[in-house]
Symmetry: C2
Subunit: 500 residues, 2 copies
């Protein structure tokens, strides 16, 4: 039996027998129950669990993969072919509502019809099969594709963008752009001296200058050596790897609910800003000036730590005052999940930064930058992947035609209100519910309880992820609607009730 009903502008069809749900809306075709298996349905109508997770097939595959590589972090194995929309299907046939979306990297859910459809065009086959060295031999449609995709969502004040293969490469190269810019400023021109050129060949100054990047405790910017020197979220990311001695400032630790602690929180932010500025002065005197400041609009891996727009505005001013570049790392926050395309838009600034880096939901890595930070000498073989830009263009089309930013704002409110209710109901377990859009988090009393809650939720058909010491972070796709929120909250409530 197929039932049909509508929520707002959506016409919804569900089939109990075939266990799927399809939302009929712009950019999303309805597929009748008679459609063959290979056709794409939009979404299922709820979780459906057959085994504990990981099930026997996942366990078997984990053993197999263990012969080839480290499997310490593997949760379970997936059937991506059968996954749809907000639902991740595993190899044991379990179907789970996914609020983690591959560490926040799937923008439109699984197998979105618009993306599948892209592959039908023969030009696109060639883009996927022939990966060019973009820095020397770009495809003819590259400027146009960049305009359609990345430039169409460029942060305020930025008209230039460089693509990269992943988030770490994006930040590494953004740091290099800031260092080169700073050295050019110091020299008063762009031409390195003979001494610069000879000394750098053996890793010495002045060619390899004693410059630094200021980062924040709790920040995460990647795990390659340069990025890792600015990452301070978990010791396990950093231990045993040589680093660079660079300054670190505290990130505000806000108290919740915000209304109640307005004064303390403002003081805390002022303290962090003062410390950041002190570090800049101190390191300049130490002969290791701060070329750039790197910060996330919301510290994600570090525990979903928020700060006020005023904090970021003041920090931006401190950067300007001291001649440091300001790098906003939107690898996890970018792409719409906060209800705006970039999280820094919530600051309401015309000039939010000099560099904005991205990856994950943008499908390609890269960074936007101000004209002055012309990343001359930023180069590698691939410099991104035009096949990812292709998918990004379509993702942006869907975001626009389906008004997904509004949807995220709506779902996010429902989610955060639900979390507020749950933390009132379970004060011994939950606290500090917080979020922007669907980019929400809640703290659990301790790490063991958090792990237990995440595993229990998974066995009831909800995929969640942790962050920081004891937070659960919510990172659904942009197609996560209000009814998915309620579906999730019901299951989450059941799990918590068992813990009470």
């Amino acid at each position: 039996m197929i039932s049909e009903f509508s929520i707002g502008k959506y016409l919804i069809f569900t089939s109990k027998k075939h266990n799927y749900l399809c939302v009929f809306c712009a950019g999303c075709r309805y597929v009748s129950k008679a459609a063959p298996k290979t056709q794409v349905e939009c979404d299922y109508d709820g979780p459906a669990m057959k085994t504990q997770v990981p099930g026997p097939r996942s366990q078997e595959l984990t053993k197999q993969l263990g012969e080839i590589q480290n499997v310490g972090a593997v949760n379970f194995f997936c059937n991506y072919n059968e996954s749809r929309g907000n639902y991740l299907v595993d190899v044991d046939g379990n179907r789970m509502l996914d609020l983690y979306t591959q560490i926040s990297s799937i923008p439109l859910g699984y197998n979105h019809p618009a993306l599948i459809k892209l592959m039908a065009h023969p030009d696109n086959l060639s883009t996927i099969v022939n990966r060019p060295a973009l820095g020397i031999l770009p495809p003819g449609n590259f400027p146009e594709k960049l305009m359609e995709s990345l430039l169409s969502v460029a942060p305020s004040g930025m008209t230039r963008v460089q693509t990269m293969a992943c988030g770490s490469c994006s930040n590494e190269n953004a740091y290099k752009a800031m260092f080169i810019w700073y050295r050019n400023k110091e020299r008063g021109h762009n031409t390195p001296s003979a001494e610069d050129l000879s000394s750098c060949m053996v890793n010495q100054g002045p060619g390899c200058p004693d410059l630094s990047i200021l980062s924040f405790m709790g920040g995460f910017h990647g795990r390659t050596l340069g990025c890792l020197a600015t990452t301070h979220s978990k010791a396990i990311h950093k231990v045993d790897v040589p680093s660079l001695d660079w300054p670190i400032a505290p990130f505000p630790k806000l108290k919740y609910p915000l209304e109640e602690f307005a004064r303390e929180n403002a003081q805390e932010e002022a303290r962090c800003l003062e410390e950041a500025e002190d570090q800049i002065v101190k390191w300049r005197h130490k002969g290791k000036p701060v070329a750039g400041i790197v910060i996330e609009p919301i510290q994600a891996e570090g525990g979903d730590n928020h700060a006020s727009p005023e904090f970021f505005k003041s920090l931006r001013n401190i950067a300007r005052k001291h001649g440091c570049a300001f790098h906003v790392d939107e690898v996890q926050t970018g792409g719409g999940c906060t209800g705006k395309f970039w999280a820094h838009e919530h600051w309401g600034m015309d000039d939010p930064g000099d560099i904005v880096s991205f990856s994950k939901k943008l499908l390609t890595g890269g960074f936007y930058h101000k004209n002055e930070l012309q990343p001359y000498r930023i180069f590698n073989t691939w410099m991104g992947d035009p096949s990812k830009n292709l998918f990004l263009t379509e993702v942006l089309n869907v975001i626009r035609t389906e008004n997904l930013l509004e949807e995220v704002t709506r779902s996010g409110k429902a989610l955060l209100n639900g979390l507020y209710e749950l933390q009132t109901q379970y004060p011994g377990i939950l606290s500090r519910a917080r979020g922007q859009g669907t980019f929400c988090a809640i703290d659990v009393c301790d790490d063991a309880t958090r792990t237990s809650i995440i595993l229990k939720a998974r066995n009831k058909g909800v995929v969640l992820g942790g962050c920081g010491d004891r937070s659960i972070r919510f990172r659904p796709a942009l197609v996560f609607k209000e009814y998915h929120v309620h579906l999730f909250l019901n299951i989450f409530n059941d799990v918590l009730a068992q813990h009470k």
Copy 2:
């Protein structure tokens, strides 16, 4: 008119009118001249030039792209849709024989039918559309696909592999694996102390240890900060970027022809080995022990610098003697272009290294490693891209069914012999012809002449690339046959004749 002839096991069809050539062999379908445009032909029958390169359309697009990003390195814009086999077609309709193949990163030429065909299978669409976080939620077929692809060509003594997004990330993470391995060895166990964990959070020892990687002058291992500290090919890659103070040893500068300078070259290699060992001892005493040695089997970016198998065998022994890991960087040499799948196979060793990194022709980045170098804590969001493994599996199939390694050896001999002849003919311009397989190079009298030769060759329909101070490197695809060699040599001869 279509003509048909055979070279060895190949049946060749050419059509003057339609300007293409098709080789009929296993894995490569012949397409008749009546085939529609969207079907894939295997190769063209020669270059065809319509304009100077860059032509007007390329120049127009360069201007457009210049509004968005730095175009200092852009050569021209390409029509990848129309490119076939060994021929790169640009946006002005110029068709060029490609001996540079996107900085040596295209294994089977452009639009190989076997790769295009892959996209027809619906399972593969899902692999391309849904990029997973491989470290936590791998697809069900991931162990099987790794076995079929990367493990089927694993270097001797290595059964484990970790994929990564690009060459730099591969090396960065390989270095981390060596550091962690070295610290575990120092501690006698794998568990960092409380002091390790707290000190690393602020980039200090002992958690961030004073360890180093020994690299070689002229080496290139990437441009992210960790890689860049081991890269010493060109100052312009390194200048203005802070670095790590790590040891550097000289790489042998061999004299050619090798037969004539056997004694001097052996002395030169002995000198470099002695210096490498001295550095290891010296840096241990300095309190910055060498955790690993990184080296390319042929220094590519640095100028196609070769060394003998004995050199590498001795260096491997030095690494073992001093407890350093031995990392063979095959990012540019791997994938068959030297006539063996890995260049280090020419050393004839059962135990060539502890780590072998790859990217480019392998389509995915990554590294193989010994069991002992279990890269625990090596992690990022994507950890590679299964859609690239998919194409790699097919590339390996084609290499096997078409005996491409034998073909490369055959073409390589013809190429090197041709280069020997040309340097005899033009002794004032060319010298030091050298190579393994088609991975060949020749030196030009000076940089200005090299640039002029490369540009003139391009206008006659041959794409070449430089490396080092004054070398031209040849990096054709694995489908570059003997008749392509002769075609190239004729054009190259014409260009040189103009310079005489």
